[in-house]
Amino acid sequence: MEIKMLDLTKIFISKDKREVHAVDHVDLTIPSGKLIGLLGPSGCGKSTTLYLIAGLLRQNVGQIYFGEDEVSDMPPEKRGIGLVFQNYALYPHMTVRENILFPLENLKVDKVEAKERTIEMANLVGLGEMLDRKPKELSGGQQQRVAIARALVKKPRVLLLDEPLSNLDARLRLQTREEIKRIQRETGITTVFVTHDQEEAMSISDEIVVMKDGVIQQMGEPQHVYDHPQNLFVAQFLGTPQINVFNGVIKNKKIFVNDMLISKTDLPDQPVKIGVRPEGFIVDLEKKSDFKFEIDLVETIGRDTTLIIEVPGNEGGLLDKITFKAIVDASLKIKAGDWVHFNVKPEKMHLFDLEGKLLK
């Protein structure tokens, strides 16, 4: 089922009486049957968006539609959604079985059927053996799967997950992430997955939505958003290591950084911010390129070498301080102290105006 948000706004009044626009005029359509990653830094309004969809918070402005139905004023218990909380919120006094059964009891599902569905769901998340344990007798990953089972057992129209992996260690994270993806595929349920971990969002989602200060920055398929960021924030938020940003100018269709020619463009003359992905540099073995630096540090991991370059600014601020990372082939055997000439792959370079808007 499709979820549509129109002009959705939630304003909190903070303790010092200031208005916090936690969700700010959000227009967003979440396509049916897809897994959407809602991504952004801490405090950007991800949980608030989720709670608005769930009905645990009431919007100040705007509407929410589930398919054709408007649910803007519907209380949470009527919306038919499943929600996995940031720290699971499993009922500590109930066993796994009772936790999963609880929504079915409230919905007055026939007892026999409810039992069967509980067991079926526990098996789906791989907890068939642990039905009689209490939450505190489970590992973080197992608790998280109970929370998913509890959310899914009532066959909700929508599944909402609020940073469900944030309490898990690295290995369990990877494992459960795959599992969520699998369960989502098997059930085909429309899912919103909140996280502030961009790598997690990119790997699990059909589409990602990047948010900042309550405003949607960009939505699209992960690779597409990565390759075509709409603004500097999105460009910097996606990708590790982070995209390199240079201050530069366009003069006569040429782009300069500290008087070095880095690339060419059709854009008119103006100051620019230049984003170049670390993997966007090519080492110019013929040393013709103008864009050359002395290497400060070299880190080699497997086939890749990361070159770290730091140039202090100088001459009364005429030249900017530059720091950047370039990932190159380890077989080039570059060492610290070497001078390297770089070319830049055009598709890995993005030009922004000084406000951070993409220049086209």
Binding site: A54, E77, G82, Y91
Partner: protein, 288 residues
């Protein structure tokens, strides 16, 4: 520290235990050294044959077994209700807390006025519903009316502390459980029954044990409400502790002091048994 504990808690208990076996005890004889004529179990059989002792047992049990669960239920409901009106919380907390900081006997006297047959508030209110005035605490009051008045007073008096404990307990319950329950389609009543009460259960156990002990030791309330007479008719509302006091203050009669001690020891074991039952029963139902 340990020695102080032994001196102040175990010594009096053991002492009372020993006194309860004295024969013909006169505490003030021999210039205050006291006199006995031996040791006996007879003190227990004497009070067990005493009509008044059985009256005090009946009164105490009825009072404790009704007032404790009822006051726990009422205070739970009030605490949950207070939670949903945070603005009025301070005001109501004061209202419910006042009796706690006021002397029980003084409040009892105020209640005695309210229970007055002709001028009391309760009969006035009943009058609005065309119910003819009841003698709650006077000379013609039935046992039920007296017990009713004592019950109302006891419950009122014990609400304050319970509400205080429960409201702070409720504040410690993570709001996410309530959000989760809403998402799980639970009604308000289901949330109360299946989430709030179980999560408060350790506190409920604590409160039910302490208030059961308190109710079994009821005395101030009877004095406050009925005065020295201990009832509409003399001794009709006597409690175990009142029984102990009565015989203790009549110590110049041979052996009475030991009767008081025996009754106190019986009360001690009753209290112990109640607490043990509560703990064992709750082991199966308490969470955490």
């Amino acid at each position: 520290m340990l020695i102080l504990m032994i001196v102040f808690t175990f010594y009096p208990l053991i002492n009372a235990f020993v006194i309860s076996f004295y024969k013909d005890y006169l505490p003030l004889a021999n210039d205050g050294a006291g006199s006995i004529t031996g040791y006996t179990f007879a003190n227990y059989s004497v009070i067990l044959k005493n009509q008044l002792f059985w009256q005090s047992l009946k009164n105490t049990f009825v009072l404790a077994l009704v007032s404790v669960p009822v006051s726990i239920l009422i205070s739970l409901f009030i605490s949950v209700a207070l939670k949903s009106i945070p603005k009025l919380k301070g005001f109501f907390q004061t209202v419910f807390f006042l009796p706690y900081v006021t002397n029980g006997i003084a409040v009892g006297m105020a209640f005695a006025v309210m229970f007055h047959r002709d001028y009391g508030l309760f009969n006035l209110i009943l009058g609005w519903f065309n119910i003819s005035p009841i003698d709650w605490i006077g000379g013609t009051a039935s046992w039920w009316a007296q017990m009713g008045a004592l019950m109302i007073f006891t419950i009122w008096e014990s609400l304050a502390f319970k509400i205080l404990v429960f409201t702070s307990g409720l504040q410690n319950i993570d709001k996410q459980y309530y959000d989760a329950a809403k998402i799980d389609h639970a009604t308000k009543w289901t949330i109360f029954k299946r989430i709030t009460v179980p999560l408060l259960s350790p506190l409920i156990l604590y409160i039910s044990i302490t208030s059961m002990i308190g109710a079994l030791k009821a005395y101030n309330s009877v004095i406050g409400l009925f005065g020295e007479k201990l009832g509409g008719q003399p001794y009709s509302m006597i409690t175990i502790v009142a029984f102990v006091y009565k015989y203790r203050s009549d110590f110049s009669f041979q052996g009475f002091y030991s009767y008081a001690a025996s009754a106190a020891i019986i009360l001690f074991f009753i209290t112990l048994i109640f607490s043990l039952i509560q703990t064992t029963v709750s082991k199966k139902r308490i969470h955490y």
